[in-house]
Structures are given as C-alpha cells and as structure tokens.
C-alpha cells in the first residue's frame, strides 16, 4: 500500500514537473524571433500571413492554449516549418516514423551491454588484482576514455568497410525484426554499448569488490556456502542496488546521446532531429522532442526509485 501511494505520488509529481518543464520550454522558444526564410523573389508577407493563420503571432498564452487544445482534441502536434525534409509535414507523423529505430538501437545496446558489462565486472572483481583484472581494467579505461563517436568510426571502418562483416548503413524498410535488419544495426549497437559496457564493468567491479570483503560474506562462507553461491546469492544482490539504477540511467543517456551514431550509420532515428530542430528553430519539432526526452528522463527516475524496492526488500519506498 505504501508503495502504491508512493507510485501515485511520484506520478503526480512527475506530471507536474513535466508540465512545468514544457511550459518553460514553450514560453522560452516562443520568445525567440519567428524565423522567416524568405529568399530572393519570395513574398515575405505571404509567409507571414501563413504563419499568422497558424497562430504564430498570437500572444504566447493564447498559443499555449491552442497548442494544448490541438494536442488533446486532435492529436495535432503542429507542422514542421523549418525542419529540413519535414517542412509542411505533421511533426507527430515524422516522430512516430523515426522513433522505432532509435528505441530498438538503444534496447539492443542495453541488452548486449548489460550482461557483458556485468559479466566483465564480476569476473574482474572475482579475479581482483590478477592479470585478468588488469586486462579488463585497462580495457575499461580505454573504452571510457575514448568517446563513442570514435568507436563508431573505427567499427565502421574496420568491420563494415575493411572486413565487410556488416553493412555500412542500416538496412532499408520497416520490418525491424529480421536477421538482415539486426545485422545492419549491430555496428551502431556496438558503438553505443562499448562505453556502457565499460561503465557497467567498472562499477560492478568496484561494488562487488567491496561487498565481497564484507563481514556478511565471511559469515556466508562459514555457514558452508560455496564461493559461487555466496557471490551469487548475497554479494551480487547487494551490489545490484546501486548498479541497477545505473543501468536505467545509462539507457536514458544512450537514448538521448545516439544522434551522432545515427548519422554515421544512417539510422532514421529521432536523435538528430532534436539537434536540428534547435538549430533551425522549428518550434513544433523542438517541443515534441523536448517533451519526449523529458518524459523519458522523468519516467526513468521513477522506475529507478521503484526498482530499489524490488532489488532489496529492505528498502520500502514511501514508508514512514
């Protein structure tokens, strides 16, 4: 019951935070000048008339009301004005068309990165200060030190261009669950998860090393548990309390940070759209994508907090 109330409370707070953030975004973006791309021989008045008809010159609060009303009643998030390739296009259509590849790449990245990262971390912790640990730690340091964009170029050059194990670009089509499609996504997935793997491995090693030297582990061993049993049942579970939230936050970070990777591997995702919407001042695109990333971030925060309770029953969210 405590948990239920806690979740409701958090959802309510999340909604309020979301609204405040979006309100700030809306007001700030509307305070910027309205960009009008009138080249030689183009009737600027006509462009203004079109924008005026769309409500661009209404007072900001009126625009906000109309914006919310359109979304609620018609599901209309606006029309692209300056976004290259999407001018005069409904922004929602563009968004939903381009969302699946972004989500898939990130899910695959997490699915591959988490077990490998945790595995390496556990292995390094168990082999603490042995050569295996040094090799893993050195690799982890290299992976952490180098930005993912560098891996992306290296992976593309070596595995896609030189060795031709993978295609250079993501396959075309919208059937995302074929072998060909998965293979074509792998270079991008690897580029994105290498950094995460390093992060997971380093964190897991550090946490697990600390837990393995705890007194309760000694107790577990003296009770007759094997090292593996003690590690799996006690050490790992305790170590996961800080690690699991990290996985979720990493997922969110990767989701918002994949725009360059998307460009390199020609993935039709939403990452690059966000950056472009800011550069070209396409307000409707900016607001929709801001809303998306804000929501993902806020939801992740809630899920992380709730997850503590599931990982460690001693933690009861919302309990007095």
């Amino acid at each position: 019951m405590y948990m239920f109330k806690y979740i409701l409370k958090r959802l309510g707070l999340m909604l309020m935070t979301f609204c405040i953030i979006m309100l700030i975004c809306f007001v700030l973006i509307k305070l910027l000048p309205i960009p009008i791309n009138a080249g030689l021989g183009v009737d600027r008045e006509l462009i203004e008339a079109n924008l005026r008809a769309r409500g661009y010159y209404d007072p900001i609060m009126v625009q906000l009301w109309n914006y919310v009303k359109r979304i609620v009643t018609e599901g209309d998030f606006g029309i692209g004005v300056n976004m290259p390739g999407y001018i005069n296009q409904p922004v929602w259509d563009a968004f939903v068309t381009r969302l699946p590849p972004t989500v898939l790449i990130n899910v695959y990245s997490t699915l591959i990165g988490v077990p490998i990262g945790l595995g390496l971390g556990i292995f390094a912790a168990l082999k603490k200060n042995k050569w295996q640990d040094h090799v893993i730690s050195t690799g982890v340091m290299i992976l952490i030190a180098v930005p993912s964009i560098v891996y992306a170029f290296l992976i593309q050059y070596i595995f896609c261009f030189k060795l031709q194990w993978f295609p250079l670009m993501m396959a075309t089509g919208t059937d995302y669950f074929t072998g060909e499609m998965f293979l074509s996504m792998l270079p991008a997935v690897l580029s994105m998860c290498l950094g995460s793997i390093a992060g997971y491995a380093r964190y897991t090693r550090a946490e697990l090393t600390e837990v393995l030297t705890s007194e309760f582990m000694l107790l577990a061993r003296t009770k007759g548990l094997t090292r593996g049993q003690a590690t799996l049942r006690h050490a790992l579970r305790n170590a996961m309390v800080p690690i699991f939230p990290m996985i979720l936050s990493e997922f969110v970070a990767v989701l918002s940070g994949s725009m360059i990777i998307e460009n390199i591997f020609a993935i039709p995702g939403v990452g690059m759209m966000y950056l472009t919407s800011i550069q070209v001042l396409d307000y409707d695109f900016f607001l929709l994508l801001s809303g998306f990333y804000t929501l993902v971030g806020l939801l992740a925060g809630i899920v992380v907090d709730i997850s503590y309770g599931f990982i460690d029953p001693r933690i009861r969210m919302g309990a007095r």
Binding site: P35, L40, G41, D43, E45, R98, S137
Partner: protein, 842 residues
C-alpha cells in the same frame, strides 16, 4: 615480482589490442593498376538489361509537388516525375559532337508556344493597344498522361494553379507567380482575396498618394501591441529593419533616435511615440507631429513612396473568381493561356523558341485532381494537403520516372514511368537508359565515401580532407556554381567596441584585411575544389545568354576588378599592376590577386594612426573579431586559422602586431543572416547565387537592396558614381551623370522608383554601369570576395555522363543522357572481382 610481471603482461596485451586497431585502420592499400573499363555509349530506354543508378543525399526530398515544395532538395524527385513544356538540350555540330557551351530549346510536353497578346488585348489587364509579350498560349501534347493512364489537359493545369494560389492554403510558392520572373495577372490579388484587416500599407498600395492620407495609420508597434487595434499588423519599416517581434514600439523609437538608420532621428522617444496611432492627415495637420514625422522619414526614405513603410492600413482584398486570373484554358482543351502584367520575350524574331521559353515556361505546377481532393484537409487553418508527401500513394507522375518507394529518413526509389510520352519519341532516342534511381539518405559524408568505394553508390562528393588524393583521378569532375563566397564584415557601428571590433569602421583596416588574404592559398587550404574570386559575380553569369556573353569575360568586368584592386589605367590604355605595366587587359587582370601583404601592412598602420587620433584605439588594445559558425568542425577551424594567420601577417611590423584575434561566435542556422545584419558578430562567410542570366539583377538585389544586403550598416546612398550613359537609337544619352549607387541600380534595372530607366539601353552601356557599381561596392571592403564555389565529385566506374564539360543549361546531361559501362549484374561481378573495394585514385 610476479604481480609486476602480470601488470606488464596486462599492459602488453592491451597494447597489442590497440595496435591491432591501428593496423586495421592503416591497412596498406594494394598496389593496383588502373582498371581496364570499356566506356559504352547509352543504349537508351529500350535496352532490356537492368540499369540502376545508386546515389545518396544528405537531405531527403519531403514534398514532391512544386505546388508546395519547401526547398531545393525537393527537386530531386520533382525533376523526375514532372515534364517540361520546353527544355534545353545540347547543341550538336555537323559531326554530331556537342558544341561546348551551346544549347538549343526544344518542345517536350508542349508542341507550340504562341504570343497571343493581340488576341487578349483589352482583357486580363492587357492594354488594348498591346501587341506582344503579355499573353502566351502553350499548346500541350495530346498524349500527356498520368502514370495510371489518366489523360492530362490544360484544365488540369488551371485547376492546379487555382490551388497553388488558393487563399485557403496560402502556399509560399504562390509568390513565384507574382514576385518572381513574371507576374501572372491577378495572381497576387487572388491569393490575398478576402483577407480583410490591417496590412502594412506597402502591401496593398505601392504609391503614396493623397487619397490614402486619412486611412494610413502610423505605428511602430509589434504584433502584440498592435493586436487589438490593427490585428497584429506591423509596418514594413520594422520588417525591413529586421527588428524582432519582441521589440516594442518604444524600443524601435529608442533605436532610431539613438542609432538611426541612414541618419539618427533628432527627436526624443516621446516625440516619436506621439505619432503612434495617428493618421497621416492628423500628422500633417499638427506642426509638432509633422516636424517629428519629417525627422523620422528622413532617417529612412531614399526612394519614392517609402512613406508607406511607416503605416498600416485597413484594407479588404476583394473576393475574386479564378476566371479573373490570367491563367486559363484557351481555344481548345490542350491550350493553356497565360496573361502577364509585364512583358516577356520567350520567342525570337522568327517566332522560334528562345532561351526564355525554357527559362520562364519550363513547366507549371500540376497535381492529379482526384488525388489532391482526396488528400485535402480543410479542418486546419490554413488548409493542408498530404499530396506529394509521406507515401508513394500520395503522388502521381507525368514525367519519365515515377516514385515507387519512399521511406522517411531512409530512401526513395524512382522507376521508369511507362506512360511517359517521351519513350518512343525520336528526340529521346538512346536516352534514359536508367531503369531505376535508388537514393539513400546519408548525412555523414564518410559513410557515403566508404559506400562509394564498395560500389554501393555511383557517385560521391569529394571532401576537403581527401581531395588532394583524388583531384587528379580520371573519375573526378568539378561542377561550377553561381555562388561566390565572400567574407562579410560587421558594418553596424553601434555594435563596435573599443578593444574589440571598433577598427572595422576604418576603411583602411578593412582594406588591409582584404589585402591580407591570399585567395589561391585559401582555396588550396580550405576549399580545394573552389577557385579564387575577386568579384561578386563569377564566370557563370551571362549578360547575353543567346550569344554566350559572360559578364566576367567582358572588358568592363575586367576593368572593374583592376580598378577595385588598385591597378592604374594609363593614358595609352595600358594597365599598371604594382610595378608592372601590361598592354593587354587580360594579362593585367590575370596579374591581379588581391593579395599584397606589404600594402596590407601600410593600410594597417594607416588605420592605426587614424583610430588612435580619433581615440578609438589605445596602444595595447586588443582587436577581437568574432567569426560566425553554426558548429565547430575541422573545416571551420581551418578557415579560422587561415584568417588568423593572414591577419597576423598583415599586422607584422605594425603597431597592431599580434593584436588581432579571430574568435568563434555560435550563430543559429535559421537566423544567422539576421544576426549578422544586426551586428551580433563580425565576420560572416556567405554568398549569393542564382539568376545566372541576370547579373544586373543579382548584384543590385544582393549588394544594394536593403532587404538582402549583408552589410546593413553601410548605406549605398553614401556612394556616388559619375558615369557617361550612352543611349541607343531613340534613347537619350547623358554625360557625367552623377547618382548614388541606389539610384544607379534602380535605373539599371528599370525599377519604378528609378530616376531614369536604362533597362533597355545598349548592353555595352549596361555593362559599364554594372562594372562601375561592382567596383564601388568592392572598394567599400564590407564584402570581400574569396572564392567561386565549385563542387568536386567522383563518378563511379559504372556510369558515365555524356560530357564532363559543364554546360550551364544541361549540366553534364544528367540521368537523361547517362550511359552505363556495366549493367547491374555485371557491376556486382566487377566489384567482387576487385575484392569488394574499388580504387579511384587513378
């Protein structure tokens, strides 16, 4: 000890892994010989083998109908699914060889173009006594069909134009038909019809006349301030000055009384704001208001009727039926008639097609009516229409190809449209060999480059990082454009700060900056495919298209460059450049580089002394120039470094040595031009292009007109030119005629506010004026030409253009004339035979 060895082993293992990566990256290229490829001529559209042209784009076309096209990228599809009424073609000599630079104009979707001015004289705004140039009948082929076989008639074009100009849609492209190259009668009034309310006075009215005095209302307010009283309308003065909408009337009043425009308004903010809401009649009836008004007007007006720029007016555009628009079906179902408000001459004296036929009447918008109406959404304001967007089902083709696949953000495919009238016509024999065009969206150039080497694309642009390796490849070609990239300098004096950018106000300083740049070196370092430029108009501008007259090749244009860069014309007609005298103007012009560090240092010293005397510079002050960029990259860093080094060299040994710093300024992609015009940063790398057949227009429109001029703080009215004007037969001649640049430009272009009209004067006279204008503008040093823009590309081994000599009208012949050295099957085998990676270095 053992642990230490373990660490060493671990580090060694890691080093081996890292080395492996490096070796993988730097794997040696195999020594290869040039491939032995037989170049095949086009076998045309009838060849039954499969020929696919694979290409890529950094921006997928989003809208595939010219009714609603949003940018140039859209033309990638539109160009293939539409047809031309009249089109350019290569000119061939008696041996069947292409005549370099030559062109012909041919009929394609139309079979006739007729000047029918006399037929419609007295109607559609055509004067009753008009005889030519104002109405044209285009006779369409009778076998025009959509890709589903539906016939196309003139009525379909008329319907489309009614949608194009529909006030319910307010399509931006509607203005193509009333503010572009020609004005279709009543096109603008049809678009604006029914719009009732307050407008900037200059929108419905062009002449400031007494009948309007009671209706014109003065306001400097923004859309919010004017919402209640004037429906949010703002005056043209505001938009002309580029004031953001957040600027209130008081901000504008403060600006003009503090900074001014041409002059500073000598009045208080309160006095200016006292004009707010007053009609013109009220203003002139009150002595105080009238005095203030005259001061306000004085800061702005340079040509007639600019009084209108300060007023809004309540106006209702009358309702109008489309039948009143000069675009209708003629005497039969295949005759489309266009009535214009100004004359055009697309036919030569024999009634044959001249270049203007394909230039002006290449095509008009066309939508498939049933599909258009099905996709129309009237619930939105303005209406929206999904025609030509999102899905292949939303578009129909009447061109040589049709859209068969489109995936947003990924790819599109065009395949042969079997219903196209051209397949089977003699004029298209052995053409259109390409069966399919597959275009992939690739934003990252490196990805495209690697795909090209794997044989997945049939062409690729060359990036500056590799151009030195490939510029001599047999597969490399360089495409000129009309763009000249210039370095524009901040001219807004109000933004100057001592210790930062104040030196820009000194002519000698700007001249020194210009002289410090070695344009050849700049191109080699920063833009290897470009060529050094000294003038605003490059070799792509024709003053006489029919006879191949290129402006840059004329003596007048050469004189413009010589004078602008300090050459001296001697009495015997020779030119002295530096210390060398040339008898031949071509040699003299060739000797001009615009680069002279010695003189630059002299100018720097001159600027220093002037600034110091004026108190604008104190010894030890820094000079910080901000360079506008949208994102930091290796490319822009190369440019910044180049400028920094050039400016350092120009100050060496002068009191300004080491004082200039070029810093980045992050600007917005969407508003970079306005930001520069407002003086937010000091150096903009920008250029203008297009209008290749009208250099007279382009120079004036981009360097003189207020609305486009990057150097907003410079006033063309402060520059006067004295020239002799020689008229032709029946035209008056003038000696020592002195006018401002603005006035000369207006006269040269025959604008209504020009003191004279030289538009139809002899071409030699017009060239003299144009060249004098160019010299005068160059000598202000607000805009420093750097390079003529060329695009460097590599052509894949699979395909060939018909000619690699660029033709202004035909380019390289495009897909129409493209031939294939391999069909699709042969190509796959060829790539595999070469190990999967192709070498383009030879």
């Amino acid at each position: 000890m053992a642990k230490q060895w373990q660490k060493v082993a671990a580090i060694a293992t890691s080093a081996v892994l890292a080395c492996g990566l490096v070796v993988g990256m730097t794997a040696c290229k195999d020594e290869e010989q040039p491939y032995d490829i037989e170049k095949r001529a086009s076998t045309g559209w009838e060849d039954e083998r499969e020929y696919t042209y694979n290409t890529y784009t950094a921006q997928l076309p989003a809208v595939w109908t010219d009714v609603n096209t949003s940018d140039a990228a859209d033309m990638e599809i539109i160009g293939y699914i539409n047809s031309s009424f009249y089109e350019y073609d290569y000119q061939y000599d008696a041996n069947g060889e292409i005549v370099p630079g030559g062109f012909e104009v041919e009929y394609s979707a139309a079979t006739k173009l007729e000047d029918v001015t006399t037929r419609y004289a007295g109607q559609y705004g055509i004067p009753a006594d008009a005889t030519e140039g104002l109405a044209f009948a285009i006779t369409l082929r009778d076998d025009l069909r959509w890709d589903d076989g539906t016939p196309i008639h003139a009525e379909d074009f008329v319907y489309t134009m009614s949608q194009q100009l529909s006030p319910n849609y307010l399509f931006q492209q509607a203005s193509n038909y009333y503010s572009g190259n020609y004005i279709i009668h009543n096109a603008q009034n049809y678009v604006y019809q029914g719009q009732s309310g307050w407008f900037p006075a200059h929108t419905p009215y062009s002449v400031f006349e007494e009948s309007l005095y009671d209706h014109l209302v003065f306001t400097l307010g923004n859309s919010t301030e004017n919402k209640e009283a004037y429906g949010g309308a703002v005056v043209s003065f505001r938009t002309g000055m580029g004031f953001p909408d957040s600027y209130a009337a008081s901000d504008v009043a403060t600006y003009i009384t503090t900074n001014g425009v041409n002059t500073v308004v000598d009045a208080t903010v309160e006095e200016v704001l006292a004009l707010e809401g007053k009609t013109y009649s009220q203003i002139i009836a009150d002595d105080v208001l009238k005095a203030t008004w005259e001061k306000v007007l004085g800061c702005w007006k340079t040509v007639d009727n600019e009084e209108l720029d300060f007023f809004v007016v309540e106006y209702t555009y009358p309702e109008m039926d489309f039948s009143e628009v000069g675009y209708f079906v003629g005497e039969n179902e295949n005759e489309l008639v266009i009535a214009l408000d100004g004359p055009l001459y697309p036919l030569d004296e024999n009634g044959d097609l001249a270049y203007g036929a394909a230039y002006y009447f290449e095509s008009f918008p066309l939508v498939k009516r049933d599909l258009w109406e099905k996709l129309e959404d009237r619930s939105a304001t303005p209406w929206t229409n999904a025609y030509g967007t999102s899905k292949v089902e939303n578009i129909a083709s009447w061109g040589p190809y049709k859209l068969t696949e489109y995936q947003s953000g990924v790819t599109y495919t065009l395949e042969r449209n079997e219903e196209w009238y051209g397949y089977g016509l003699d004029q298209y024999a052995l053409q259109y060999q390409t069966d399919r065009i597959v275009t992939r969206y690739v934003a990252e150039w490196n990805t495209a480059w690697q795909s090209f080497q794997l044989g997945q694309f049939d062409g690729v642009s060359l990036d500056a990082t590799i151009i030195s390796d490939y510029r001599n490849s047999e597969r490399a070609y360089f495409t000129p454009s009309t763009a000249t990239a210039c370095l524009y300098l901040n001219s807004i004096e109000e933004t100057y700060e001592k210790g930062k950018n104040i030196m820009l106000k000194y002519d000698a300083f700007r001249e020194a900056l210009s002289l410090s740049i070695d344009r050849e070196e700049f191109c080699a370092t920063c833009s290897p495919s470009s060529m050094a430029a000294l003038g605003y108009l490059n070799d792509m501008y024709y003053y006489d298209v029919e006879n191949g007259g290129v402006y840059r090749d004329t003596d007048q244009a050469k004189t413009a460059i010589l004078k602008a860069y300090g050459a001296v014309e001697n009495e015997d007609g020779s030119w002295t450049v530096g210390s060398v005298t040339y008898d031949d103007i071509d040699e003299a012009e060739a000797a001009i580089t615009g680069y002279n560090v010695t003189l630059a240092r002299e100018k720097m010293t001159e600027a220093y002394e002037a600034a110091k005397a004026a108190g604008d510079y104190t010894d030890g002050d820094s000079i910080v120039l901000t360079y506008g960029i949208t994102e930091q990259s290796a490319s822009v860093e190369r440019q910044r470094t180049f400028y920094q080094n050039a400016f350092n060299a120009a100050t060496e040994g002068t009191p300004l040595e080491g004082k200039i710093t070029v810093e980045y300024f992050m600007m917005s992609d969407a508003t970079w031009d306005q930001q520069f015009m407002n003086g937010e940063y000091d150096i903009a790398s920008a250029g203008w292009q297009n209008a290749p057949f009208d250099p007279f227009y382009l120079l004036g429109a981009t360097q003189v007109w207020d609305e486009n001029r990057f150097q907003q703080g410079w006033d063309p009215d402060t520059v006067t030119l004295t020239l002799d004007v020689k008229g032709g037969e029946g035209q008056e001649s003038y000696e020592d005629l002195t006018m401002t640049l603005t006035e000369w430009d207006a006269c040269l272009q025959g604008l209504s506010d020009g003191r004279y009209n030289f538009k139809n004067y002899p071409i030699e006279t017009k060239l003299e004026i144009l060249a004098a204008e160019e010299t005068a503008i160059l000598q202000t040093y607000w805009g420093i030409p750097l390079r003529s823009v060329y695009d460097a590309s590599l052509m894949g081994y699979k395909v060939e253009y018909i000619s690699y000599e660029y033709n202004t009208f035909m380019g390289y012949g495009g897909v129409r004339y493209m031939s294939y050295n391999f069909d699709d099957t042969e190509w796959a085998a060829f790539v595999e035979e070469k190990g999967g990676t192709l070498n383009y270095t030879f």
